[in-house]
Protein backbone atom coordinates (compact mmCIF):
# COMPACT_ATOMS: atom_id res chain seq x y z
CA UNK A 1 0.00 0.00 0.00
CA UNK A 2 2.67 2.46 1.06
CA UNK A 3 4.60 2.00 -2.15
CA UNK A 4 1.55 2.05 -4.40
CA UNK A 5 2.43 4.71 -7.00
CA UNK A 6 -1.14 6.00 -7.21
CA UNK A 7 -1.20 6.46 -3.44
CA UNK A 8 2.14 8.26 -3.53
CA UNK A 9 0.89 10.47 -6.34
CA UNK A 10 -2.24 11.21 -4.34
CA UNK A 11 -0.07 12.23 -1.39
CA UNK A 12 1.95 14.46 -3.69
CA UNK A 13 -1.19 16.11 -5.06
CA UNK A 14 -2.58 16.66 -1.56
CA UNK A 15 0.73 17.97 -0.28
CA UNK A 16 1.16 20.28 -3.20
CA UNK A 17 -2.27 21.86 -2.86
CA UNK A 18 -1.98 22.13 0.93
CA UNK A 19 1.46 23.65 0.49
CA UNK A 20 0.22 26.31 -1.90
CA UNK A 21 -2.38 27.10 0.76
CA UNK A 22 0.40 27.50 3.33
CA UNK A 23 2.26 29.81 1.00
CA UNK A 24 -0.86 31.87 0.40
CA UNK A 25 -1.54 32.05 4.13
CA UNK A 26 2.05 33.00 4.94
CA UNK A 27 2.78 35.58 2.28
CA UNK A 28 1.14 38.42 4.25
CA UNK A 29 3.44 37.72 7.17
CA UNK A 30 6.45 37.67 4.86
CA UNK A 31 5.42 40.99 3.31
CA UNK A 32 5.10 42.78 6.63
CA UNK A 33 8.40 41.39 7.78
CA UNK A 34 10.20 42.04 4.54
CA UNK A 35 8.98 45.56 3.97
CA UNK A 36 8.46 46.88 7.48
CA UNK A 37 10.85 44.67 9.43
CA UNK A 38 8.06 43.86 11.89
CA UNK A 39 6.51 40.61 13.02
CA UNK A 40 2.72 40.58 12.92
CA UNK A 41 1.46 38.41 15.74
CA UNK A 42 -2.14 39.05 14.78
CA UNK A 43 -1.52 37.21 11.52
CA UNK A 44 -3.46 34.10 12.51
CA UNK A 45 -6.36 36.24 13.64
CA UNK A 46 -6.46 38.05 10.32
CA UNK A 47 -6.93 34.67 8.68
CA UNK A 48 -9.61 33.78 11.22
CA UNK A 49 -11.34 37.10 10.72
CA UNK A 50 -11.45 36.58 6.96
CA UNK A 51 -13.12 33.22 7.45
CA UNK A 52 -15.68 34.54 9.95
CA UNK A 53 -16.48 37.54 7.77
CA UNK A 54 -17.17 35.13 4.95
CA UNK A 55 -19.46 33.10 7.19
CA UNK A 56 -21.27 36.26 8.25
CA UNK A 57 -21.68 37.59 4.72
CA UNK A 58 -23.10 34.29 3.53
CA UNK A 59 -25.38 33.61 6.50
CA UNK A 60 -26.54 37.12 7.41
CA UNK A 61 -26.40 38.90 4.08
CA UNK A 62 -27.23 35.82 2.06
CA UNK A 63 -24.51 36.51 -0.49
CA UNK A 64 -23.29 33.67 -2.70
CA UNK A 65 -19.83 32.27 -1.94
CA UNK A 66 -17.92 33.90 -4.77
CA UNK A 67 -19.17 37.42 -4.15
CA UNK A 68 -18.87 37.14 -0.38
CA UNK A 69 -15.29 35.88 -0.70
CA UNK A 70 -14.15 38.76 -2.89
CA UNK A 71 -16.00 41.39 -0.85
CA UNK A 72 -14.62 40.17 2.44
CA UNK A 73 -11.05 40.00 1.18
CA UNK A 74 -11.46 43.64 0.15
CA UNK A 75 -12.88 44.49 3.56
CA UNK A 76 -9.83 42.85 5.11
CA UNK A 77 -7.61 45.24 3.16
CA UNK A 78 -9.30 48.11 4.94
CA UNK A 79 -8.84 46.40 8.26
CA UNK A 80 -5.17 45.81 7.50
CA UNK A 81 -4.64 49.47 6.73
CA UNK A 82 -6.30 50.36 10.02
CA UNK A 83 -4.14 47.87 11.92
CA UNK A 84 -0.99 49.24 10.32
CA UNK A 85 -2.06 52.80 11.04
CA UNK A 86 -2.86 52.18 14.70
CA UNK A 87 -0.22 49.68 15.73
CA UNK A 88 2.70 49.79 13.32
CA UNK A 89 3.00 53.42 12.21
CA UNK A 90 3.53 54.89 15.69
CA UNK A 91 6.02 52.14 16.52
CA UNK A 92 8.18 52.19 13.42
CA UNK A 93 11.06 53.81 15.25
CA UNK A 94 10.70 51.94 18.53
CA UNK A 95 12.02 48.53 19.40
CA UNK A 96 10.33 45.70 17.54
CA UNK A 97 8.85 44.47 20.83
CA UNK A 98 6.28 47.25 20.72
CA UNK A 99 4.81 45.96 17.51
CA UNK A 100 4.98 42.39 18.78
CA UNK A 101 2.98 43.25 21.88
CA UNK A 102 0.62 45.56 19.99
CA UNK A 103 -0.26 43.01 17.34
CA UNK A 104 -0.48 40.32 20.00
CA UNK A 105 -3.04 42.48 21.81
CA UNK A 106 -5.01 43.02 18.60
CA UNK A 107 -5.01 39.26 18.05
CA UNK A 108 -6.36 38.64 21.54
CA UNK A 109 -9.03 41.29 21.07
CA UNK A 110 -10.12 39.85 17.72
CA UNK A 111 -10.22 36.31 19.03
CA UNK A 112 -12.36 37.16 22.00
CA UNK A 113 -14.61 39.54 20.11
CA UNK A 114 -15.34 36.77 17.62
CA UNK A 115 -15.91 34.33 20.45
CA UNK A 116 -18.42 36.73 21.98
CA UNK A 117 -20.11 37.35 18.64
CA UNK A 118 -20.24 33.84 17.20
CA UNK A 119 -19.78 31.53 20.19
CA UNK A 120 -17.11 28.89 20.54
CA UNK A 121 -18.90 26.02 18.77
CA UNK A 122 -17.31 25.17 15.42
CA UNK A 123 -19.12 26.60 12.42
CA UNK A 124 -19.08 25.52 8.81
CA UNK A 125 -19.19 27.53 5.62
CA UNK A 126 -20.33 25.85 2.45
CA UNK A 127 -18.62 26.53 -0.85
CA UNK A 128 -20.11 25.23 -4.09
CA UNK A 129 -16.77 23.66 -5.04
CA UNK A 130 -16.53 21.67 -1.83
CA UNK A 131 -18.39 18.64 -3.14
CA UNK A 132 -16.67 18.64 -6.52
CA UNK A 133 -13.86 16.31 -7.32
CA UNK A 134 -12.37 14.90 -10.46
CA UNK A 135 -9.97 12.13 -11.18
CA UNK A 136 -6.82 12.01 -13.27
CA UNK A 137 -5.16 8.61 -13.52
CA UNK A 138 -6.58 7.44 -10.19
CA UNK A 139 -5.52 10.59 -8.38
CA UNK A 140 -8.42 12.54 -6.91
CA UNK A 141 -8.36 16.32 -7.19
CA UNK A 142 -10.81 18.22 -5.02
CA UNK A 143 -12.60 21.32 -6.27
CA UNK A 144 -11.97 23.61 -3.31
CA UNK A 145 -8.29 22.58 -3.22
CA UNK A 146 -7.99 23.48 -6.87
CA UNK A 147 -9.56 26.84 -6.07
CA UNK A 148 -6.85 27.35 -3.45
CA UNK A 149 -4.19 26.61 -6.07
CA UNK A 150 -5.82 28.96 -8.56
CA UNK A 151 -6.08 31.68 -5.95
CA UNK A 152 -2.43 31.19 -5.11
CA UNK A 153 -1.46 31.66 -8.73
CA UNK A 154 -3.66 34.73 -9.13
CA UNK A 155 -2.53 36.28 -5.85
CA UNK A 156 1.17 35.73 -6.44
CA UNK A 157 1.15 37.01 -9.98
CA UNK A 158 -0.95 39.98 -8.87
CA UNK A 159 1.49 40.66 -6.05
CA UNK A 160 4.43 40.38 -8.40
CA UNK A 161 2.90 42.86 -10.82
CA UNK A 162 1.95 45.20 -8.01
CA UNK A 163 5.41 45.27 -6.45
CA UNK A 164 7.06 45.49 -9.81
CA UNK A 165 5.05 48.05 -11.70
CA UNK A 166 2.96 50.18 -9.35
CA UNK A 167 4.36 53.32 -7.83
CA UNK A 168 3.48 52.22 -4.31
CA UNK A 169 4.93 48.78 -4.96
CA UNK A 170 8.24 50.33 -5.94
CA UNK A 171 8.15 52.40 -2.76
CA UNK A 172 7.58 49.20 -0.81
CA UNK A 173 10.62 47.58 -2.34
CA UNK A 174 12.65 50.66 -1.60
CA UNK A 175 11.52 50.57 2.00
CA UNK A 176 12.51 46.93 2.28
CA UNK A 177 16.01 47.98 1.29
CA UNK A 178 16.52 51.03 3.44
CA UNK A 179 13.90 52.96 5.34
CA UNK A 180 16.10 55.92 6.28
CA UNK A 181 16.97 56.49 2.65
CA UNK A 182 13.26 56.42 1.79
CA UNK A 183 12.61 59.19 4.28
CA UNK A 184 15.38 61.23 2.72
CA UNK A 185 14.14 60.93 -0.84
CA UNK A 186 10.67 61.97 0.29
CA UNK A 187 8.75 58.70 0.25
CA UNK A 188 5.78 58.89 2.63
CA UNK A 189 6.77 56.03 4.92
CA UNK A 190 3.46 56.04 6.79
CA UNK A 191 1.48 55.71 3.62
CA UNK A 192 3.63 52.83 2.42
CA UNK A 193 3.20 51.20 5.83
CA UNK A 194 -0.59 51.44 5.60
CA UNK A 195 -0.52 50.03 2.09
CA UNK A 196 1.66 47.17 3.20
CA UNK A 197 -0.74 46.39 6.03
CA UNK A 198 -3.68 46.50 3.62
CA UNK A 199 -1.99 44.26 1.09
CA UNK A 200 -0.87 41.76 3.72
CA UNK A 201 -4.28 41.60 5.38
CA UNK A 202 -6.06 41.25 2.05
CA UNK A 203 -3.84 38.32 1.08
CA UNK A 204 -4.26 36.71 4.49
CA UNK A 205 -8.02 37.26 4.39
CA UNK A 206 -8.08 35.80 0.89
CA UNK A 207 -6.32 32.72 2.24
CA UNK A 208 -8.97 32.60 4.98
CA UNK A 209 -11.90 32.71 2.60
CA UNK A 210 -10.60 30.10 0.19
CA UNK A 211 -9.09 27.67 2.68
CA UNK A 212 -11.61 27.81 5.52
CA UNK A 213 -14.44 25.96 3.72
CA UNK A 214 -12.20 22.90 3.98
CA UNK A 215 -12.24 23.04 7.77
CA UNK A 216 -14.38 24.10 10.71
CA UNK A 217 -14.45 27.69 11.83
CA UNK A 218 -13.67 28.43 15.46
CA UNK A 219 -12.24 31.51 17.17
CA UNK A 220 -8.72 30.21 17.70
CA UNK A 221 -8.39 28.56 14.31
CA UNK A 222 -5.64 31.09 13.62
CA UNK A 223 -3.13 29.40 15.91
CA UNK A 224 -2.47 26.51 13.58
CA UNK A 225 -2.14 28.85 10.64
CA UNK A 226 0.25 31.09 12.47
CA UNK A 227 2.70 28.30 13.37
CA UNK A 228 2.73 27.09 9.80
CA UNK A 229 3.21 30.62 8.53
CA UNK A 230 6.07 31.31 10.91
CA UNK A 231 7.71 28.08 9.81
CA UNK A 232 7.24 28.90 6.14
CA UNK A 233 8.60 32.40 6.59
CA UNK A 234 11.63 31.29 8.59
CA UNK A 235 12.43 28.44 6.22
CA UNK A 236 11.99 30.55 3.12
CA UNK A 237 13.91 33.50 4.50
CA UNK A 238 12.15 36.16 6.54
CA UNK A 239 10.45 38.53 4.18
CA UNK A 240 11.30 36.61 1.05
CA UNK A 241 8.09 36.13 -0.91
CA UNK A 242 9.29 33.52 -3.39
CA UNK A 243 11.09 31.74 -0.60
CA UNK A 244 7.76 31.55 1.22
CA UNK A 245 6.09 30.00 -1.82
CA UNK A 246 8.75 27.33 -2.17
CA UNK A 247 8.93 26.67 1.56
CA UNK A 248 5.13 26.40 1.71
CA UNK A 249 5.04 23.74 -0.98
CA UNK A 250 7.95 21.88 0.60
CA UNK A 251 6.25 21.89 3.98
CA UNK A 252 2.93 20.75 2.48
CA UNK A 253 4.61 17.85 0.71
CA UNK A 254 6.63 16.86 3.77
CA UNK A 255 3.54 16.88 5.95
CA UNK A 256 1.51 14.96 3.44
CA UNK A 257 4.07 12.18 3.22
CA UNK A 258 4.66 12.16 6.96
CA UNK A 259 0.93 11.91 7.60
CA UNK A 260 0.37 9.29 4.91
CA UNK A 261 3.37 7.11 5.69
CA UNK A 262 4.06 7.97 9.33
CA UNK A 263 1.61 9.32 11.88
CA UNK A 264 -0.22 12.49 12.83
CA UNK A 265 2.08 13.54 15.68
CA UNK A 266 5.07 13.57 13.34
CA UNK A 267 3.07 15.58 10.82
CA UNK A 268 2.23 18.27 13.36
CA UNK A 269 5.79 18.48 14.59
CA UNK A 270 7.49 18.77 11.20
CA UNK A 271 6.94 22.51 10.79
CA UNK A 272 8.49 23.24 14.15
CA UNK A 273 11.39 20.85 13.80
CA UNK A 274 12.35 22.10 10.36
CA UNK A 275 12.08 25.67 11.61
CA UNK A 276 14.47 24.97 14.50
CA UNK A 277 16.84 23.08 12.23
CA UNK A 278 16.80 25.99 9.81
CA UNK A 279 17.53 28.50 12.53
CA UNK A 280 20.53 26.49 13.61
CA UNK A 281 21.87 25.78 10.16
CA UNK A 282 21.00 28.87 8.20
CA UNK A 283 19.41 31.66 10.25
CA UNK A 284 18.79 33.83 7.21
CA UNK A 285 16.54 31.14 5.72
CA UNK A 286 17.00 29.18 2.53
CA UNK A 287 16.75 32.14 0.23
CA UNK A 288 17.97 35.13 2.24
CA UNK A 289 15.82 37.80 3.76
CA UNK A 290 15.29 40.56 1.27
CA UNK A 291 12.13 41.33 -0.65
CA UNK A 292 13.00 40.42 -4.20
CA UNK A 293 10.85 40.69 -7.25
Amino acid sequence: MATDPVFLAQLAANGFSVGLGYALAAVGLALIFGILGQVNFAHGELYMLGAFLLFWAMKQLGLPYGIAAVLMAALMAGFGALLAHVVIVPNLDRGFESVVLGTLAVGIILQNAVRLGFGATPLDVASPLESQAFEIGGVLLFGQRMLVCATFLAAFSGLYAFLRYSEIGRAMRAMAQNREACVMVGIDVRRVTRWTGALAAALTGLAGVVISPLFDLYPNMGTEVVIKSFAVVIIGGMGNIWGAAIAGVALGLAESYAGGLGNAAIRDGIAFIVMIAMLLARPQGLFGRTVRV
Binding site: P90, F96, A105, G107, R115, V226, A231, L279
Partner: protein
Protein backbone atom coordinates in the same frame (compact mmCIF):
# COMPACT_ATOMS: atom_id res chain seq x y z
CA UNK B 1 13.05 51.87 52.06
CA UNK B 2 11.87 51.42 55.68
CA UNK B 3 8.29 52.00 54.65
CA UNK B 4 8.55 49.44 51.94
CA UNK B 5 9.91 46.74 54.17
CA UNK B 6 7.22 47.51 56.76
CA UNK B 7 4.66 47.11 54.01
CA UNK B 8 6.20 43.81 52.97
CA UNK B 9 6.15 42.45 56.51
CA UNK B 10 2.52 43.51 56.89
CA UNK B 11 1.63 41.80 53.63
CA UNK B 12 3.46 38.64 54.65
CA UNK B 13 1.70 38.59 58.01
CA UNK B 14 -1.63 39.19 56.31
CA UNK B 15 -0.97 36.33 53.92
CA UNK B 16 -0.07 34.06 56.83
CA UNK B 17 -3.23 34.85 58.76
CA UNK B 18 -5.62 35.04 55.80
CA UNK B 19 -7.20 31.57 56.29
CA UNK B 20 -7.98 32.43 59.92
CA UNK B 21 -9.64 35.70 58.99
CA UNK B 22 -11.79 34.51 56.11
CA UNK B 23 -13.25 31.06 55.74
CA UNK B 24 -14.93 31.63 52.40
CA UNK B 25 -13.80 28.76 50.14
CA UNK B 26 -14.15 31.08 47.19
CA UNK B 27 -11.68 33.63 48.54
CA UNK B 28 -9.27 30.88 49.48
CA UNK B 29 -9.56 29.41 46.02
CA UNK B 30 -8.59 32.74 44.49
CA UNK B 31 -5.75 33.08 46.97
CA UNK B 32 -4.40 29.65 46.02
CA UNK B 33 -4.53 30.48 42.33
CA UNK B 34 -2.78 33.76 43.10
CA UNK B 35 0.06 31.87 44.75
CA UNK B 36 0.49 29.71 41.66
CA UNK B 37 0.42 32.82 39.49
CA UNK B 38 3.16 34.40 41.60
CA UNK B 39 5.43 31.46 40.78
CA UNK B 40 4.57 31.79 37.11
CA UNK B 41 5.02 35.54 37.08
CA UNK B 42 8.52 35.28 38.53
CA UNK B 43 9.37 32.80 35.81
CA UNK B 44 8.48 35.38 33.17
CA UNK B 45 10.06 38.19 35.17
CA UNK B 46 13.43 36.44 35.07
CA UNK B 47 13.40 36.34 31.30
CA UNK B 48 11.48 39.45 30.36
CA UNK B 49 12.32 41.70 33.28
CA UNK B 50 15.92 40.83 33.98
CA UNK B 51 17.12 39.57 30.60
CA UNK B 52 14.90 41.79 28.46
CA UNK B 53 13.81 38.86 26.31
CA UNK B 54 10.22 38.77 25.15
CA UNK B 55 9.33 35.12 25.72
CA UNK B 56 5.92 33.76 24.86
CA UNK B 57 6.81 30.27 26.03
CA UNK B 58 5.73 30.52 29.67
CA UNK B 59 2.45 28.70 28.99
CA UNK B 60 4.42 26.01 27.17
CA UNK B 61 6.53 25.19 30.21
CA UNK B 62 3.52 25.59 32.49
CA UNK B 63 1.69 23.02 30.36
CA UNK B 64 4.67 20.69 30.22
CA UNK B 65 4.85 20.76 34.00
CA UNK B 66 1.13 20.13 34.32
CA UNK B 67 1.12 17.19 31.89
CA UNK B 68 4.31 15.58 33.15
CA UNK B 69 3.17 15.68 36.78
CA UNK B 70 -0.30 14.45 35.89
CA UNK B 71 0.84 11.58 33.71
CA UNK B 72 3.40 10.40 36.22
CA UNK B 73 0.85 10.58 39.04
CA UNK B 74 -1.96 8.91 37.11
CA UNK B 75 -0.09 6.34 35.04
CA UNK B 76 2.86 5.55 37.26
CA UNK B 77 1.37 6.39 40.64
CA UNK B 78 4.44 8.38 41.56
CA UNK B 79 4.72 10.31 44.76
CA UNK B 80 4.15 14.06 44.35
CA UNK B 81 7.60 15.00 45.52
CA UNK B 82 8.93 12.98 42.62
CA UNK B 83 6.38 14.23 40.10
CA UNK B 84 7.12 17.81 41.09
CA UNK B 85 10.83 17.27 40.63
CA UNK B 86 10.31 15.55 37.30
CA UNK B 87 8.01 18.32 36.14
CA UNK B 88 10.68 20.85 36.98
CA UNK B 89 13.32 18.86 35.10
CA UNK B 90 10.98 18.54 32.14
CA UNK B 91 10.44 22.30 32.19
CA UNK B 92 14.17 22.95 32.29
CA UNK B 93 14.79 20.46 29.51
CA UNK B 94 12.11 21.88 27.22
CA UNK B 95 13.45 25.36 27.84
CA UNK B 96 16.87 24.10 26.81
CA UNK B 97 15.46 22.66 23.59
CA UNK B 98 13.58 25.84 22.75
CA UNK B 99 16.22 28.26 23.98
CA UNK B 100 19.33 26.73 22.50
CA UNK B 101 18.52 27.48 18.87
CA UNK B 102 16.36 30.54 19.38
CA UNK B 103 18.69 32.47 21.68
CA UNK B 104 21.47 32.17 19.14
CA UNK B 105 19.63 33.98 16.42
CA UNK B 106 17.84 37.28 16.10
CA UNK B 107 15.46 38.60 18.74
CA UNK B 108 12.65 38.35 16.20
CA UNK B 109 13.23 34.67 15.82
CA UNK B 110 13.28 34.21 19.57
CA UNK B 111 9.76 35.57 19.93
CA UNK B 112 8.55 33.53 16.99
CA UNK B 113 10.08 30.30 18.22
CA UNK B 114 8.79 30.74 21.76
CA UNK B 115 5.26 31.33 20.50
CA UNK B 116 5.49 28.44 18.05
CA UNK B 117 6.69 26.13 20.81
CA UNK B 118 3.62 26.98 22.88
CA UNK B 119 1.23 26.45 20.01
CA UNK B 120 2.95 23.26 18.93
CA UNK B 121 2.80 21.72 22.39
CA UNK B 122 -0.88 22.53 22.59
CA UNK B 123 -1.37 20.80 19.26
CA UNK B 124 0.53 17.76 20.46
CA UNK B 125 -1.52 17.60 23.67
CA UNK B 126 -4.65 17.78 21.56
CA UNK B 127 -3.69 15.19 18.98
CA UNK B 128 -1.65 12.64 20.95
CA UNK B 129 -4.79 11.05 22.25
CA UNK B 130 -3.34 7.75 23.50
CA UNK B 131 -1.25 9.72 25.95
CA UNK B 132 -3.25 12.81 26.79
CA UNK B 133 -6.83 11.79 25.87
CA UNK B 134 -6.86 14.88 23.67
CA UNK B 135 -9.54 17.45 24.34
CA UNK B 136 -11.25 15.18 26.86
CA UNK B 137 -8.43 16.01 29.22
CA UNK B 138 -7.16 14.07 32.20
CA UNK B 139 -9.29 14.01 35.35
CA UNK B 140 -8.99 12.74 38.92
CA UNK B 141 -5.47 13.94 39.45
CA UNK B 142 -4.70 12.90 43.01
CA UNK B 143 -4.06 15.32 45.85
CA UNK B 144 -0.35 15.86 46.27
CA UNK B 145 1.55 14.05 48.98
CA UNK B 146 4.68 15.95 49.88
CA UNK B 147 7.20 14.53 52.31
CA UNK B 148 4.56 12.10 53.58
CA UNK B 149 1.86 14.72 54.11
CA UNK B 150 -1.24 14.75 51.94
CA UNK B 151 -2.53 18.17 50.98
CA UNK B 152 -6.30 17.98 50.85
CA UNK B 153 -8.22 20.81 52.50
CA UNK B 154 -8.28 24.29 51.10
CA UNK B 155 -6.36 25.62 54.07
CA UNK B 156 -3.57 23.11 53.51
CA UNK B 157 -3.58 24.01 49.87
CA UNK B 158 -3.41 27.65 50.74
CA UNK B 159 -0.26 27.19 52.77
CA UNK B 160 1.29 24.99 50.11
CA UNK B 161 0.64 27.60 47.45
CA UNK B 162 1.85 30.43 49.69
CA UNK B 163 5.02 28.48 50.44
CA UNK B 164 5.59 27.87 46.74
CA UNK B 165 5.13 31.56 46.01
CA UNK B 166 7.48 32.55 48.82
CA UNK B 167 10.12 30.09 47.65
CA UNK B 168 9.80 31.32 44.08
CA UNK B 169 10.25 34.93 45.14
CA UNK B 170 13.16 34.00 47.38
CA UNK B 171 14.91 32.04 44.62
CA UNK B 172 14.37 34.90 42.22
CA UNK B 173 15.88 37.26 44.75
CA UNK B 174 18.86 34.98 45.30
CA UNK B 175 19.45 34.89 41.60
CA UNK B 176 18.95 38.50 40.65
CA UNK B 177 20.91 39.96 43.52
CA UNK B 178 23.88 37.73 42.80
CA UNK B 179 26.78 37.98 40.42
CA UNK B 180 24.65 36.11 37.91
CA UNK B 181 21.88 38.68 38.32
CA UNK B 182 24.32 41.44 37.43
CA UNK B 183 25.25 39.55 34.32
CA UNK B 184 21.59 39.19 33.34
CA UNK B 185 20.96 42.89 33.75
CA UNK B 186 24.14 43.71 31.85
CA UNK B 187 23.10 41.58 28.87
CA UNK B 188 19.69 43.25 28.96
CA UNK B 189 20.99 46.82 29.09
CA UNK B 190 23.85 46.59 26.60
CA UNK B 191 24.63 43.33 24.91
CA UNK B 192 27.77 44.61 23.17
CA UNK B 193 29.27 46.06 26.31
CA UNK B 194 28.42 42.89 28.23
CA UNK B 195 30.38 40.94 25.61
CA UNK B 196 33.28 43.35 25.91
CA UNK B 197 33.23 42.78 29.67
CA UNK B 198 33.68 39.09 29.00
CA UNK B 199 30.16 38.03 29.93
CA UNK B 200 28.98 35.00 28.00
CA UNK B 201 25.72 36.52 26.85
CA UNK B 202 24.35 33.36 25.27
CA UNK B 203 25.06 31.19 28.31
CA UNK B 204 23.61 33.76 30.69
CA UNK B 205 20.41 33.96 28.70
CA UNK B 206 20.13 30.23 28.25
CA UNK B 207 20.57 29.56 31.96
CA UNK B 208 18.00 32.21 32.85
CA UNK B 209 15.60 30.81 30.27
CA UNK B 210 15.99 27.26 31.59
CA UNK B 211 15.46 28.33 35.19
CA UNK B 212 12.40 30.22 34.09
CA UNK B 213 11.15 27.08 32.35
CA UNK B 214 11.67 25.06 35.53
CA UNK B 215 9.77 27.58 37.60
CA UNK B 216 6.85 27.67 35.17
CA UNK B 217 6.70 23.88 35.14
CA UNK B 218 6.50 23.78 38.94
CA UNK B 219 3.60 26.21 38.76
CA UNK B 220 1.96 23.98 36.16
CA UNK B 221 2.26 20.84 38.24
CA UNK B 222 0.84 22.59 41.31
CA UNK B 223 -2.02 23.84 39.19
CA UNK B 224 -2.77 20.37 37.84
CA UNK B 225 -2.84 18.85 41.31
CA UNK B 226 -4.97 21.66 42.64
CA UNK B 227 -7.63 21.75 39.94
CA UNK B 228 -7.31 17.93 39.58
CA UNK B 229 -8.21 18.14 35.90
CA UNK B 230 -6.23 19.34 32.91
CA UNK B 231 -6.82 19.58 29.17
CA UNK B 232 -4.82 21.14 26.32
CA UNK B 233 -6.20 24.48 27.46
CA UNK B 234 -3.33 24.67 29.98
CA UNK B 235 -1.11 25.65 27.07
CA UNK B 236 -3.74 28.29 26.43
CA UNK B 237 -2.20 31.27 24.97
CA UNK B 238 -4.42 33.53 27.05
CA UNK B 239 -2.18 32.68 30.00
CA UNK B 240 0.62 34.49 28.22
CA UNK B 241 -1.34 37.70 27.85
CA UNK B 242 -2.40 37.66 31.50
CA UNK B 243 1.21 37.08 32.55
CA UNK B 244 2.55 39.83 30.33
CA UNK B 245 0.09 42.26 31.88
CA UNK B 246 0.92 41.17 35.42
CA UNK B 247 4.64 41.55 34.84
CA UNK B 248 4.64 44.70 32.74
CA UNK B 249 2.05 46.62 34.70
CA UNK B 250 3.46 45.42 38.01
CA UNK B 251 6.94 46.50 36.96
CA UNK B 252 9.14 44.08 35.06
CA UNK B 253 12.68 43.78 36.31
CA UNK B 254 11.67 44.41 39.90
CA UNK B 255 11.22 41.71 42.52
CA UNK B 256 7.90 42.74 44.05
CA UNK B 257 6.19 44.57 41.21
CA UNK B 258 5.16 41.42 39.34
CA UNK B 259 3.97 39.88 42.63
CA UNK B 260 1.66 42.84 43.12
CA UNK B 261 0.60 42.46 39.49
CA UNK B 262 -0.24 38.81 40.09
CA UNK B 263 -2.34 39.61 43.16
CA UNK B 264 -4.25 42.44 41.52
CA UNK B 265 -4.88 40.78 38.19
CA UNK B 266 -6.01 37.49 39.69
CA UNK B 267 -8.33 39.08 42.22
CA UNK B 268 -9.73 41.91 40.09
CA UNK B 269 -11.45 39.88 37.35
CA UNK B 270 -12.90 37.61 40.02
CA UNK B 271 -14.24 40.51 42.01
CA UNK B 272 -15.74 42.09 38.91
CA UNK B 273 -17.15 38.67 37.97
CA UNK B 274 -15.97 38.93 34.41
CA UNK B 275 -16.45 36.06 32.00
CA UNK B 276 -13.23 34.71 30.53
CA UNK B 277 -13.96 36.27 27.14
CA UNK B 278 -14.62 39.72 28.56
CA UNK B 279 -11.56 39.44 30.76
CA UNK B 280 -9.33 38.49 27.85
CA UNK B 281 -10.84 41.22 25.73
CA UNK B 282 -10.13 43.72 28.47
CA UNK B 283 -6.57 42.48 28.88
CA UNK B 284 -6.09 42.83 25.16
CA UNK B 285 -7.27 46.42 25.32
CA UNK B 286 -5.00 47.15 28.30
CA UNK B 287 -2.01 45.66 26.51
CA UNK B 288 -2.73 47.64 23.36
CA UNK B 289 -3.14 50.88 25.30
CA UNK B 290 0.14 50.22 27.07
CA UNK B 291 1.89 49.82 23.75
CA UNK B 292 0.32 52.94 22.31
CA UNK B 293 0.39 55.29 25.27
CA UNK B 294 3.07 54.01 27.65
CA UNK B 295 5.70 52.42 25.45
CA UNK B 296 8.49 53.21 27.90
CA UNK B 297 6.77 51.10 30.50
CA UNK B 298 7.08 47.96 28.40
CA UNK B 299 10.72 47.30 28.97
CA UNK B 300 12.75 48.23 31.98
Amino acid sequence: MRRRSALLWAAALGALLLPLAVDSPYVLHIAIVTGIYIVLVQSLNLVLGYCGLLSLASPAFFGVGAYVATLLALRQGWDSTATLAMAMLAGIFSALVVGFPSLRVSRHSFVIVTLSATLLLQLVALNWEEMTRGSLGLANIPAPRLFGMTVRTRIEWYYLSAAAAAIAVFCTWLLVSSRFGRAMIATRDDEQLALACGIDVFRTRLVAFCLSGGLAAVAGSLYAHFISYIDPGVFGFSVSETLLIMVILGGSGTLWGPVAGAVVFTALPEMLRLTPEIRSLLYGVILLSLVLYRPRRLFP
